[in-house]
Subunit: 347 residues, 4 copies
């Protein structure tokens, strides 16, 4: 079967790889119907995440149909349409027992190499072997199309995580820095907590337009200083919650500068750089900072919100390509061409 395979020298290629088989009674084989490209895949292409050797099939956002199920699998059966989270977990380690399956000691991320635990082949291909299937996969309701279901196990649950760990309360003012796919999902998710106002900050007009459709008050950081704007809107007190979905020291500091005393900075960006934390000031001012991967336990509730049409993420899905044209799709996504937000690959 064809797959998007990491090459040495910061390249990808569409190559032939062997088809996977059931190896354990708890495995399933999923026939991929839609896989999407994530910003992390671009980081991986450029070697910015260590521990992922050339030859790795990449991609961790996908949905599909169960092709075969191991003998101990009871929740799903061949023919079922399923959503798969970006990574798997064991259900029995200390972290899993605490309910923090995203921090599983025995987990791994599709196409994430050794960096995220056990190496698992990625999903930008035709078939994927999914261990611990009963625990990790989620059936997809009939009325949710692939093009939205594929968000649930990665960018939607991560954007939701940003809002949820932010502890947004009724009437809060929220600011989301960064309107890439995860930032947009954070904007959408912030609305589930009854905020007074959600600000969305970015430099691309097409992303801000989607943020506005999702109910945000937009701030184009090219034209306006977001920190000043937030302070002015809040009687110089600051927002209750700031979400950092860019991954830069600049926006992290803007997030810190935007929140009120006792406010929360919720971080979901992947950071290439460290930041300096001004503890002499922040210690008295009083701020909370929360970071980490999304908890997949939100997948069920988020899928139910798509199914009940409480939320429509279709504006994020701007392009679709056959898997064999994946390199063209990456070029489009990576270089922000043609107002691209999210690209689907169809094996």
């Amino acid at each position: 079967m064809k797959a998007v395979v990491l090459q040495a020298g910061h390249e990808l290629a569409v190559n032939d790889v062997p088809e996977p088989r059931v190896e354990s009674p708890n495995d399933i084989i999923v026939k991929v119907t839609t896989a999407s490209i994530c910003g992390s895949d671009v980081h991986i292409k450029y070697g910015e995440i260590p521990g992922i050797p050339p030859g790795t099939v990449i991609g961790h956002e996908f949905v599909g149909v169960v092709e075969e199920a191991g003998e101990a699998v009871r929740q799903v059966k061949a023919g079922d349409r399923v959503d798969i989270p970006a990574g798997i977990w064991c259900g029995v380690c200390a972290a899993c027992r605490r309910g923090e399956t995203q921090n599983c000691s025995n987990g791994g991320v599709w196409g994430g190499g050794y960096y995220f635990g056990q190496p698992l082949q990625g999903a930008q291909t035709s078939y994927v072997r999914v261990p611990n299937a009963d625990l990790c996969v989620l059936p997809i309701p009939e009325n949710v199309p692939d093009e939205q279901a594929v968000f649930v196990g990665d960018i939607f649950m991560t954007g939701y995580h940003a809002a949820n760990q932010g502890g947004i309360r009724t009437g809060d003012t929220v600011v989301v820095y960064g309107c890439g796919p995860i930032g947009l999902c954070a904007v959408a998710s912030a609305q589930f907590f009854g905020p007074k106002q959600v600000f969305a900050v970015d430099r691309f007009e097409n992303r801000l337009a989607v943020a506005a459709r999702l109910g945000a008050t937009v701030i184009n950081a090219k034209e306006d200083d977001p920190v000043n704007r937030i302070l002015e809107t809040t009687d110089m007190e600051g927002a209750d919650v700031a979400i950092e979905a860019v991954g830069s020291a600049e926006s992290f500091n803007q997030a810190l500068g935007s929140v009120r005393r006792g406010g929360m900075v919720s971080v979901v960006g992947l950071f290439p750089e460290s930041v300096e934390l001004q503890l002499p000031i922040l210690g008295l001012y009083g701020v909370r900072i929360s970071m980490g991967l999304a908890n997949p336990s939100s997948m069920g509730p988020l899928m139910s919100l798509l199914s009940s049409e409480r939320i429509d993420l279709s504006p994020l899905c701007t392009h679709a390509y056959p898997l064999e044209d994946a390199l063209e799709a990456y070029d489009l996504f990576e270089n922000h061409k043609d107002q691209c937000i999210k690209v689907m690959l169809k094996p």
Copy 2:
């Protein structure tokens, strides 16, 4: 000044009463601009709440303008437009220190006689003396009309309380029994918590129409069995949260019958009758029940949601009368005439 005054024999009258004066440095005098009629006022008229002697001015829902402020008052000044909660609190007793100001040992409800603590004259009149004004009153933003602000201190915060104490979480299924003014506010408030679906149950089509405008899936209990409907919709599992806003044993039992294992029944109805609690079954099934008055700390956030136009409660305000025609207004409200939901009195 004229006031709606409780009479012996289950009657009300519009009579002359003396104007109040500042009695303590923390008092303010509020000139009432709008007072509304609450279902509790009807209970009081019929003597169903003990400890309220004839001669009491009734009414606990009002907004107005500060006429005069005691010397120790700092937050508001003459001329400010303010919202006043249904009752006051002291800020220093054990309950207040816990943040449960609704359970204040030294509080009282406007026109609530001795039943709710210290007797306070009610608000269906021209002027009201408000003790502890700095703690208890809330300025009203310019763009929020009296007709919605007046809901914040009573029915809106109570409906919100129903949703909030219900512990609604993202993706939950919620059912609200009763679409009177508080039930409708509960429907509106449930939406602040990211539910999958909010069912609203009533027998009046005009109320159900408002519930539908507020985003609910409506069930007319004359035509449909709400418990069956909820169970069918939830794969026979039950809703996550049921809100009881009727105040009858029948709907309390329906609420209990509607929730899943581990679900919550949030009670805000005033009950004339006891219920039998089937502990042999419920103990193993696992249900939580929460009841009590609303916490006024939600007033600020709720006012901000009105001000930012996140929610529009104008459909609840169906009628307005001059104070001197209060008896006609009560007749309309009490007898569900002319599709009445809420009536404003204008002194």
Copy 3:
């Protein structure tokens, strides 16, 4: 092998039953080293819990050593000493995905017949087949003896659940009605939440003596009115949390009468009778009631508290018998003979 088997006519017998075998890749066979008798077993003997047919092996409190593990089991292996909760769960149903494994749609209780889900043979015998072993069993640290570990999966987690769902906060006053094994575990567990004072109510001096060793202020209900005593101690305000661990209408009402406005009644007793809930009064007073089975996710933390010697439950273990003398052990336990609190059976 020998087992305690339910007979028709409210009798038990020690009979021969077949040994279990691994039936699924996720099963283990546990060689029971200690099983204890629970109050529920006595209810079962007398037919007070429906759906448990004669012939059922009873007993749901046990620890042992893994004799054999199915091929898909990874967490434990033959020879491991393990604690097993009173019931199992599937890990994938809606309740399990919410983390409420005690409400699993596909679960069952050892010796609990059809009443608790799928029928499972009980544990007062030599070998037990445990499905879903990776999810449900917990390794026992070397320094925790069987006689305390056996409490973790049933009475300790239930007593802890009583305290935890009670929402006890630093400085709270707590009252525990009933000092049977679960009530005593509730007394012990209440101490984990930093209370000001924990009252323990019972009529047996030997139980009250254990409660006192666990840090409680004891009230002998034969000599003292517990509600009056609580009210007097709390300036007539009431306790913050009352735990009902008796299972009678009388103590349920005492619990309700003991709590402050906004307080919590946490119910873990099994009730043979309904209660009348005075909603006209309670609705305004403001009380919360929580009931249901314990969540096994507390087993790990509780085992760690035993292992670190933060808590010593050895005073609860008053007797031990060989399994073949189980009927004598039941007589002792059931009739409160010889200051019995808890009896161990040794197969």
Copy 4:
């Protein structure tokens, strides 16, 4: 009256200052019976906290007796023994309405100059004027001596805040970096949350001895690497919660290095320096950081724990001096002489 007064040139002096008078109806005058010296007072002496002009009376830890009460004060009266928090609040600003009185927009800290809001004269003197007395002061139960009550409004509530914002849960492993007075109170407070084990790290044996009396497992950082020790004890997973009560980049980084994925670093130290936050690693690892001043709403519960003898903080009170010998007391405290932990000043 005599008072400890800040001088230019990093000096203190015991000088005469005018006695305060009631200025507003909500004021009280407190006759100070005990004031204690805080580490912050030493920072102030050396000019490390800006905005505190020479001539300021310093000291923010004190208890006393009400000498006179303004006409609107209702909670306390002349003769009452009261505890006063380190700072006051207004009760009506946005932060106060959220219950975060420590972040009050109109507050101030005794002897804290302009840095903490409105300048208030300090408490190392004979009389203090306390505004907003009803809101801010707490009566002291008869059986709690000055020498422990004086901790409640500052170091005890701050140590408790460290534990509380840490979100410690039953069975958690906790590590407290720094066993100064606040660190020791954090050790004591961590025990209120049912931890498995509390580690206490310091370099002074006398402080570690007190930590051990308060139930901690001590680590002398001169002899042992605390991070290694924590990791080894937790199967290399890390503690659940680390409390930073030193205020140095070194211990902040140790705290970060000590916690598990998803763990919490709770900061209460005052920091003279910034730290570098390794977001590329921490972002995926998943850590939460919380900082800020203590919420005085814990004062009531903490006082009740002292009154019920659930906790004994007397080992912290090592010395007492007449106010006129304050400079000698500062020398002792500041230079860690004579195993000093806390010094009381008696006006």
